[in-house]
Structure formats: C-alpha cells, structure tokens
C-alpha cells in the first residue's frame, strides 16, 4: 500500500483510540481531507521544484510505533546540552520518554502536547492557539495536524524570563524497520517573556525515519524567543520541518537552523507579523556532503509597518550534495518602513555539488528598505595561499576558511555552551583538529 493510502486508512483507527473533544475532531477531519486531496508534494509544484520526496516515500513506514522503546541516558547523553541545566521534553520513537525528560509546571509549562490537547484545563489555550498559525492548506502541515497528538507544549507566562534553555529531542531507535513520526509542538511566549529553545531530531541506527514535524510559535508583545534547530542526523534520516511563527508588536524572534546531516532535510520556516516594530531573525549554517540534500524554504510576511527581518544563510556543499535556498520576503501594502535584509552565501567544494538559490522579493509598499545578496563560489584561493604560506596545510586551511565563512552565524548563538557545541560539530564535520577550540 502506498504511504498516502496507508496514512488515510490509519486515520480512522487513530481517531478511535484517541479521546478528543469535538472541535479538535473537526480540525483533524478537515486536515486529513486536505491531505487526501493534495497528497504529498511533487516536483511539479513550484515550492518543491528542487526537492523530491519520491524516493523516501517508498519505504514501508510504520505510522504508529508499536511499542515503547527504552534507551539509556548514557547512550544518548552526547546529544544533550549536558554541560548546563535545561528543561527537557524528550521523545523516543514518537512517544514521550519520561525518564529522559525534565518537564515543569512551576511558573511555566514545559510539558506534553498530548496532555494539553486532552486535559480540560488547557482547552481554552488550545482553542486559542492550536493550528491557528499553521497552514490549513499545505499538505504536509495538514497531514501533521490530522495526526497531531504528541510533542512539546510550552507556555511561558507574561514577564517570565526562563533561565534554563528548553531542549526538545526526538530520538528514533530504529527498532522499527522504517518509522514515520509526526511531532507537533506548540510554543506560546507571553508579553515580555523570554525563552531559549533547542530542538533536535536524532536517529540511533540506520533504519529509515521520516519525520514530518510542525511547530507553532506565538510571541506576544515584546516577547523574546531564540529557537535553535540542530540537524546533524544519520544518513537514514529524513526531516520535513514546518515551523510557523506569529509575532506581535515589538517581539523579537530568532530561528537558527544548523543542518549538518541527514538524507533529505526540508525546512519550511514562516514568519507572520501582527504588530509594529517586530524583529525577525532567520539564520542558518548548512554543511553537507555525499548525496545529502538540504532545502531551506523561508517566508517572512511583512504585514505591518516599521518591522525588521534579517536573514543570513551560509551553505557549504561537498561531494554530490545538493542545497536549496528559497527565501521569500513579502511586503504588504500597509507595511511601510519595512527593513528586510536577506543574505545567502554558498560555497561549492566540488564539481558535483549543486546549489539552487532563489531569493524572492514581493514588495507592495513604496517606502521600504529591502535588500538581498546571494553568492555562489569556491574557497578564496588567495586566502588559502595566505594560510598555507604560514605553514598551515591545505586541509586545515580549508577548514579554517569554512569556519570563517560560517562565523557570522555562529557568532549570533546566544547560549555559550551551544556555540561551543556547534563549533565542535563543525570541526568534526570538516575533519580537522586545529589544536584549539574554535
């Protein structure tokens, strides 16, 4: 049976064993209908022109994990930011792993989507926020909505500055031959509140995994949200990340996406503005090789005056890897004095690597500052010669240059331990020991 049919026929069974109130049932039903009509996206669609899901849809995925799989903390410690204390919401094969997690209800909610969806005390919040900014039209998002049940639920009350970062990690054990998981996260950050979140998806063996994740983030007035996505997965992992961000007046939201691994990775990142003087930051570093594929598909929808957006994506492609950057800035007629900036720099290390870069600016206001820059090139030969002439061998010189290339983005990581971790991953990725911590 094809995956699409399998999912549709599973939907009935899923609805039966899950106890939800009727509004949610309606949301799910219309979502599965949308997916049924549209199916999985194909390369015929403009938005998916450079990314084909065909090959990965052929696996016979289990869409509901059959049993709970336990893993020891020691086995997976390295995937945590264990140097510092964090709130943790951890999942194994799509199921909540309480023994790896550290949730809280003390002054803020860091807990489970399934409880939020099912417990009456959360009903008002769910009614107000759940599926309110996520697309009701995009097929993969609606597929996730239809099956939305588990994930992280984070609610930060007004004026709360969350001291500890929150880690959300989805592990796949590979006990199932092939597994599809559909995490659903909801993050609500109250007025003047501040939170830092790190999200990671990690396979633990080579069996194929398809993750279709949806995250909704609501930043209220003057809220500050820093969101970091670490994608450094095994070759068997496929990730479709759909993130929707709703920003109110004077809020500041940044999303950093570090794409260092996986088979096919697609990041759909969407920012919507509802208020003035909003600041949105989208940054990414992609370093991949072999036949890996990473596609960044971003949208910043400037709908209100006096807002800013800053995009900076750096990509290094080795081997036969392929990268895509499609960055759309949409400035509505009302959005006067918008300041939107987009930069995308790409380095191709070999003849077989490919990048498709497509900046898209649609501007309907007449008093705005919008700029974009896109470069595609190789490593600077003069810089290579400079370093070699100081005795630094070619391989190390290359690594230093690539590190320097990514540095602008690394510098804006606000959690020092995470910054260290990312630079370490980059050094490993580049295969060098430079004799000092970058």
């Amino acid at each position: 049976m094809e995956l699409k049919e399998k999912l549709i026929s599973s939907f009935m069974a899923f609805e039966e064993h899950i106890d939800v109130h009727s509004e949610l049932h309606d949301v799910r039903t219309s979502a599965i209908k949308n997916f049924e009509n549209k199916g999985f996206p194909t390369k015929k669609e403009e938005a998916w022109k450079y990314t084909s899901l065909n090959a990965i849809l052929k696996n016979d995925y289990s869409v509901f994990p059959k049993h709970e799989n336990a893993i020891e903390f020691a086995e997976v410690k390295k995937y945590f930011l264990h140097e510092i204390d964090t709130h943790k919401v951890i999942f194994v094969d799509g199921k909540f792993a309480s023994f790896l997690s550290a949730t809280t209800h003390d002054g803020l909610d860091v807990c489970l989507m399934s409880s939020a969806l099912n417990k009456p005390k959360y009903k008002m919040i769910i009614d107000e926020y759940f599926n309110k900014i996520a697309s009701k039209d995009e097929s993969l998002t609606t597929l996730n909505t239809a099956f939305a049940n588990e994930g992280a639920y984070i609610n930060i009350p007004k004026s709360k500055v969350v001291e500890k970062p929150i880690e959300i990690i989805y592990f796949s054990t590979g006990v199932e031959n092939a597994l599809m998981v559909q995490p659903r996260n909801l993050v609500i950050v109250g007025e003047n509140a501040h939170v830092q979140i790190i999200e990671r998806h990690q396979c633990l063996n080579e069996n194929p995994v398809l993750t279709n994740s949806v995250t909704e983030i609501f930043a209220q007035k003057r809220a500050i949200v820093d969101y970091y996505k670490i994608q450094n997965d095994l070759q068997s992992a496929n990730l479709i990340d759909n993130t929707y961000i709703s920003q109110k007046q004077e809020s500041r939201v940044s999303v950093h996406t570090f794409s260092f691994g996986g088979n096919i990775t697609r990041n759909n990142l969407n920012f919507y503005h509802f208020g003035e003087r909003i600041d949105s930051t989208l940054k990414g570093i992609t370093i991949i090789g072999d036949k890996q594929h990473v596609d960044h598909y971003t949208l910043v929808n400037h709908a209100t005056p006096n807002c800013e957006s800053h995009q900076n994506y750096k990509t290094i492609l080795a081997g036969s890897s392929t990268g895509v950057f499609n960055g759309k800035i949409y400035v509505e007629k009302e959005a006067q004095k918008t300041d939107a900036f987009q930069q995308n720099n790409n380095i191709l290390l070999g003849d077989k690597a490919t990048i498709n870069a497509k900046p898209q600016l649609e501007i309907f206001a007449d008093d705005v500052k919008c700029s974009h820059g896109c470069t595609i090139g190789q490593l600077d030969e003069t810089a290579m010669f400079y370093m070699q002439s100081r005795g630094i061998p070619k391989k190390e010189a290359k690594a230093l240059l690539m590190y320097a290339f990514s540095n602008e983005v690394i510098e804006s990581i606000k959690i020092p331990e995470l910054k260290k971790r990312i630079t370490k991953i980059i050094a490993t990725k580049l295969g060098v020991n430079l004799g000092f911590d970058l």
């Binding site: 010669f385 070699q388 002439s389 100081r390 630094i392 061998p393 230093l400 540095n407 690394i410 000092f436």
Partner: protein
C-alpha cells in the same frame, strides 16, 4: 640561503618572469625594486609557492635544496615566510589561535612536539612587545577590521613568531604611516641575524631608510637588469626608472 637560477614563470600563458638569477646569503638583506608590473610580487609569490603561477624553467634552491615543487606550507616549514601586500581577513579565528596552529603545524612537520602552552604565551608576549602590539589585539579575529598599518604590523608579528630563515616582505611599506613604518622596520631589524636573510620587495625607497639593504636589484619586465648597493635605491628614488630603461636600450 636562497639561490634562484634562470627562473621563468607564467600565468595563463603570459610570461611574467623571464630568467631571474638571484643569490641571497645568510645574514644579508636584499631589496628588489622596480616599476609597477615588473614582476616583483610575482617573484615573491613564486618563492613562497603560489600555485597560480607556472614555473616553466629554472630552479629555486633554499639552503641547497630545490623547493620549486613544494607546496606553500612545506616551504613555510622549511623556513620561507612571505609578508603579504594585502593580508587576508579570517573572521572568527583569533590572531593567537592562528599563530598557535601555524607554529604547531610547522613543529609537527619538523618532527617536534607541540609547543607547550606557557612557552607559547611567553613567545606571544615577547613578540607582541617587540612590535608594540596591544594584547587585546591578539584576541581579535585575524586582520578583520584591522587598519592597513595594523595588518602590516601583524604580518611582521607573525614573522617574528615563526622565525623564518628567509623572510620576503612584499610591499610591506605600502599603507603605513611613518610611525607604523618605524615600528615595522625596527621589528625586522631586531629579528635579523647572521643565520637568516630578508628580501624586501618595494616600489619606493622609503622603507630602505630604515631597513638598510646590502644589495639592491632592479627588476624590469621580468628580469633583474641592474644590481648595486644601498646607494642604487637612492639613485632610483631621485631619477626614477627611465634612465635604467634607456641604459638597457642603449
């Protein structure tokens, strides 16, 4: 120290060096002067191993060993240093870390242990004082946002750290104000001894007031057309290069 014989080199089929002969002994300072486009920077790049140029004929011996086939880093490990006319910016890599990597790579290539951290710190302190470099400067990203003078001073600082046998200074005086020029020249003079040699590539005589050369060579159209002592530089400053051209043609 350095012996260049009948060196021909080209880039994209254009011959730039047309038979250079040059011998530099340990303990000597040589200056190479010449008009723009004569091939001065090409010569320094080629000695340091820039792979963009093809050496079509001739040889480059460093202490009797032919280095013309070696990679730039291998030449560096053998003691060649090139101070760049336009030093490259490396964001995110501090001056200190860059030097640590460079020094330890050289030591590794020469079969030595890595330099212990305290020794490294001592060396950095000593050499930064020599070039009147503020310590804060050393934790900044290499050359990023440095002024022209700071870049050049940092080049000589790196030279001081690496203690090369043959230092080539390519237009080190360009972009320097008089104070920076004095500091840079003073640094070079202090590093100079009977076991190393310096090759100064310059367009103007100015730097040679501070770093007194033993020999001055005039490079024109890919060839050394005249050699002399320090007084030749003064003569060039006064009369320009045309008289040599005329002398050549005569």
């Amino acid at each position: 120290m350095l012996q260049i014989t009948n060196l021909h080199a080209s880039v994209e089929d254009k011959e730039i060096l047309k038979g250079i002969n040059l011998t530099v002994n340990a303990g000597e300072v040589h200056a190479i002067m010449g008009p723009n486009g004569a091939g001065k920077s090409t010569l320094s790049s080629i000695i340091a191993g820039n792979e963009n140029y093809n050496v079509t004929e001739g040889e480059i011996l460093l202490e009797g060993e032919d280095i013309s086939e070696l990679a730039p880093e291998e030449r560096a490990h053998k003691g060649v240093f090139l101070s760049f006319q336009y030093p490259v910016e490396i964001p995110g890599v501090s001056v200190t870390n860059f030097m640590k990597t460079a020094i330890n790579e050289s030591r590794k290539a020469n079969g030595k242990e890595e330099m212990p951290a305290n020794e490294m710190l001592k060396l950095i302190r000593e050499k930064s004082e020599l070039l009147e470099i503020d310590r804060k400067f050393l934790s900044r990203s290499l050359n990023e946002g440095f002024s022209g003078g700071e870049k050049k001073r940092n080049e000589i600082f790196q030279m001081a750290m690496l203690e090369p046998k043959l230092a080539i200074l390519d237009e080190t005086d360009s972009g320097l104000d008089i104070d920076a020029l004095r500091i840079v020249a003073n640094g070079v003079n202090k590093l100079k001894n009977e076991n190393n040699a310096v090759l100064v590539i310059t367009h103007y005589q100015r730097l040679l007031d501070y770093i007194i050369p033993d020999f001055v060579h005039v490079l024109m159209d890919g060839k050394i057309v005249k050699s002399g002592d320090a007084s030749l530089a003064l003569e060039l400053e006064e009369k320009g290069y045309d008289w040599i051209k005329q002398e050549q043609e005569a």
